[in-house]
């Protein structure tokens, strides 16, 4: 059906285009010169407004003639951009003529040197700022790095006799037992029976003792200290006297 319609339209168009068209004659109009007779009103610039505008910096179009000296800031940037463009110019070593390969090689070396220099500058900057280079691209840990104070009490710096006397005088027997225990640890450390370290627990010191009798007694002393100090058991003068006696006996056994 579509094909038939196409054939019909094609035949019709061929039929219509086959006709000849007669030429049309155009009449030419005569040329007439028309004069502009409108009256012209001449307008003049407002000299006051012109003066005001010419004083504004936005309308100062006159270029610097080079007679006034540039500021240090302008000179610095001029120098910087010159230096930068010089830096990236191909390197010349004397008046020798090099092969193209050598020239390319020199060019690459030049860029490598610039890169190394910039890298060194960045490294120095980060180092001075105290930034860890290894962790710079790593995700930060979730926790905040809050410092905390530790009471790094060195048993070798404590005057035990004085402190003990003071604690007993104040009836602070809990503190007195603590001082007795710390003194005992110092004596063991001085005798090279244990190695004093802040991170060692009491059981670690017990396990360090090689003499079974010493270990057994020290274990009992540790127990008294733990009950008094960590357990916060009430302690009176009589109990302290007994505990003190145990510590004194143990001291005699330390060579």
């Amino acid at each position: 059906m579509l094909r038939l319609l196409c054939i019909f339209l094609l035949a019709f168009s061929v039929h219509t285009t086959g006709k000849t068209v007669a030429p049309v004659k155009v009449k030419k109009a005569p040329l007439v010169l028309k004069m502009d007779t409108a009256q012209v009103n001449v307008r003049h610039f407002d000299s006051v407004a012109l003066k005001t505008y010419s004083k504004q910096p936005e309308f100062q179009y006159q270029e610097d003639d080079g007679q006034s000296a540039p500021s240090w800031w302008t000179r610095f940037w001029r120098w910087f951009w010159n230096w930068l463009s010089d830096l990236f110019k191909p390197m010349k070593l004397g008046n020798h003529k090099y092969s193209q390969f050598v020239q390319v090689l020199l060019y690459i070396l030049q860029y490598l040197a610039i890169g190394a220099g910039l890298g060194a500058l960045v490294f120095l900057g980060l180092k001075m700022a105290g930034i860890d280079m290894l962790n710079i691209f790593r995700r930060k840990p979730m926790g905040a790095n809050l410092p905390y104070q530790e009471s790094l009490e060195n048993i070798h710096d404590i005057n035990f006799d004085d402190e003990l006397e003071r604690a007993v005088a104040q009836h602070n027997y809990r503190l007195a037992v603590r001082l007795l225990y710390l003194k005992c640890l110092k004596q063991l450390s001085d005798a090279d029976l244990i190695k004093w370290q802040i991170d060692k627990t009491n059981s670690a010191y017990i396990n360090e003792l090689t003499n079974p009798d010493q270990r057994r007694v020290f274990k009992t002393l540790t127990l008294q200290f733990e009950y008094t100090w960590y357990g916060e058991f009430a302690i009176d003068a009589t109990v302290f006297k007994n505990i003190n006696a145990l510590f004194m006996d143990f001291k005699k056994g330390i060579v």
Binding site: P141, E153, I198, S203, T220, L223, E226, Y227, I235
Partner: protein, 325 residues
């Protein structure tokens, strides 16, 4: 206890007796693993959920089953598989044609001692079903909240994540476990003993003859007793320092949460109770530090590739902090 000077403030006799009974029950079947058993008992007493990890064949499930059997409470077991759905664990509403209404059918999570075997074989969608119940001991379905009965403890077992067909558990879920207990291979002597017991057919007989040593009510009472144990202030600070340090350690990507600090104190109390003390010592805290923190902290990828373990980092942290004394 070799102590002639101080009288006990708390009666720990029932607790000590119960602990001894549980240990003796487990020791009949389980060879070795003394530390793991101590931690399991401590976990139960501290009202915590426990994750047991180990390669296949090291008696993870058996240990968990034995603990569950030692307690006379409602026990249920869920085998986690990759196609398990949250409703398979929590339960679902089913239409009752007689009453012409929907009624809630409780899932296997409704119990006292829940053994989840191979927990890391199920994907994160299924794991998320456990979030509410593990922390708040309740389940909310169709806008209605169902409370769990006390005691409620989840004992889960898993293979290391390197094993085929396992998923890494979400951090939010790991944080809900009090301990991650790692069960290692037995020593040669222990393995010989295991084989001998099996050869003499002792194990199966003993397993069927096991009877509970504690009731659910007793567990609740013991937990109350453990909660009331004494912790000196310096030890609380010591615990906080350890957990705090995990948050800024350069080898760790994720540190311990405040929940980890609480877990460490609760676990240390339970351990002190097991040892017959009514107060905590630094030894208790350092002992529980690794099992409490090892699943909560995450190593940075480079440290993981170097072969460092969370236990190594935790040991480094403890070494830096002064023992309060």
């Amino acid at each position: 206890m070799e102590n002639d000077f101080f009288e006990q403030r708390t009666d720990m006799s029932r607790l000590s007796q119960a602990v001894d009974q549980i240990k003796a029950t487990l020791a009949k079947i389980i060879v070795g693993q003394h530390d793991s058993i101590d931690l399991l008992v401590a976990g139960i007493l501290a009202d915590g959920h426990i994750l047991i990890e180990g390669v296949p064949g090291v008696a993870k499930t058996l240990t968990a089953k034995l603990i569950a059997k030692a307690i006379d409470a409602q026990y249920s077991r869920i085998q986690f598989t990759p196609d398990l759905m949250p409703s398979d664990i929590l339960g679902t509403s089913v239409f009752n044609p007689k009453l012409t209404e929907f009624e809630f059918k409780q899932g296997p999570i409704f119990g006292n001692i829940i053994l989840i075997d191979e927990i890391n074989r199920a994907p994160a969608k299924t794991q998320s079903a456990l979030f509410e119940v593990m922390e708040e001991k309740q389940v909310t379905i169709d806008g209605k909240t169902y409370k769990m009965q006390e005691p409620f403890t989840v004992l889960a077992t898993q293979n290391p994540v390197e094993q085929e067909g396992t998923y890494r558990l979400p951090e939010a879920q790991l944080d809900r476990f009090l301990f991650k207990i790692e069960i290692k291979y037995p020593t040669l002597e222990e393995e010989i003993q295991i084989i001998t017991q099996q050869h003499q057919q002792k194990t199966s007989d003993q397993l069927s003859n096991l009877s509970p040593v504690l009731t659910a009510a007793e567990i609740i009472a013991l937990r109350q007793q453990v909660k009331a144990l004494h912790v000196e202030r310096k030890l609380l600070e010591f615990t906080a320092k350890i957990v705090h340090e995990t948050r800024s350690h350069k080898s760790l990507y994720l540190g311990g949460s405040p929940r980890a600090s609480l877990a460490m104190i609760n676990a240390a109390k339970a351990l002190a109770a097991i040892k017959g003390r009514d107060f905590v010592t630094p030894d208790d805290i350092t002992y529980v530090a690794a099992p409490v923190l090892r699943h909560r902290v995450m190593l940075t990828p480079d440290k993981e590739m170097e072969g460092l373990t969370p236990d190594d980092v935790i040991a480094q942290i403890i070494q830096k902090i002064e023992i309060p004394r």
